[in-house]
Symmetry: C3
Subunit: 155 residues, 3 copies
């Protein structure tokens, strides 16, 4: 057993200003290629107008989530930040913050260790430009003991 | 000093649809049994209608927290997700998301390294069925240097 | 390459009841002093009326963020917690919870591995007293492979 760290990136450039993208399969590909069997992965946008979050696989929930964030942090409200910046994106920053910004996910047996319906989303809140998500993987390259054998897979 | 990873589970089946349960002692039991002296623990619900969060030990604050989430994400609003699913639980998903879903906690000297009044809660938002929380522990099995000796315990 | 863990603290005692403080440089100093080249750092307030979060470097956005939290969790609402405690700080607890409470940040080449404009803030929501943030660093003391070389630096 050896301790392993890997640093990879996901790149995005959305057509829309706001978009939620299922990144579960891409993340799993990165995790598998890393050789880490047992560990943690930090999925960390290098921007503060994007967020990564875990939710249900049903796609219309992502639309509901964006609508809820827009209702909680309206684009029409007045923000000091928007007096300082051309981009007028204070609401996007605060929505990304409330959406959690980054996640830490478990890795077991060389894959993301998620519940049956859990899906990882990249949430773009100020798109139409190049964005980058850091994927930092930390763990061991083979199973590390009795803890790995237990079952899982919630719903 | 050896590097250790452990994977354990907490199980829940609440009588109520919504409930906040203090899991600090159960988590500490898992941490102690793991043999990890110094590390991190990811406490990760395998569902997206539950959340784990850290708050004050005073129990009525958990009721205030649930009321705030219900006010921010009303069950009576219209959600696309609820047109696709029998369960009508879009609000529960979005509340769990805003509540943070999972936490990463410090482990020092074989126990959770929390402030004096900090309490870890499992927040069920769509209960009355079996739910599972993954507890992924990563660290070393004995103290790993001068960093461990410092004091702590905020209020 | 050796596996390293470090445990350090940041201390705060704000003049104002609410305040957002840029802690990026202080955190980077702790990370550099730790000797960890490649890893993760958990930045964890030992209180539940404070939060650490990542946002844009533009300072007025921190004021917008506090205003948004105050609008979402009004101090004037009625909270059960405030009937039990002299401090009347239920809103501060719930705001800190929604703000995310703690973060996990990547470390690469001995520094915080953040996007160009990313800034780490300590958000005090119930200040004018001593507060403490635990900084728990986990990683390796030299570069651990090909993953470290890749570029980064989002905007």
């Amino acid at each position: 057993m050896a301790f392993v760290m890997r640093r990879e990136f996901l790149h995005f450039s959305t057509a829309e200003l706001e978009e939620a993208i299922d990144i579960t399969a891409r993340l799993n590909g990165i995790v598998t290629a890393s050789g880490v069997r047992d560990g943690l992965v930090l999925v960390f946008p290098l921007h503060t107008t994007s967020a990564v979050y875990v939710s249900d696989c049903e796609p219309s929930l992502a639309i509901d989530t964006r609508a809820a964030l827009a209702r909680l942090v309206p684009g029409t409200a007045s923000y000091l930040h928007d007096a300082h910046e051309v981009k007028q994106n204070a609401a996007a920053h605060i929505r990304a913050h409330l959406a959690g910004h980054h996640v830490v996910l478990p890795i077991t047996k060389g894959s993301l260790d998620l519940g049956t319906f859990q899906t990882v989303y990249y949430l773009e809140l100020d798109g139409r430009r190049d964005k980058e998500v850091l994927v930092k993987i930390m763990g061991t390259d083979e199973a590390s003991g009795p803890g790995e054998g237990a079952g899982g897979g919630g719903t």
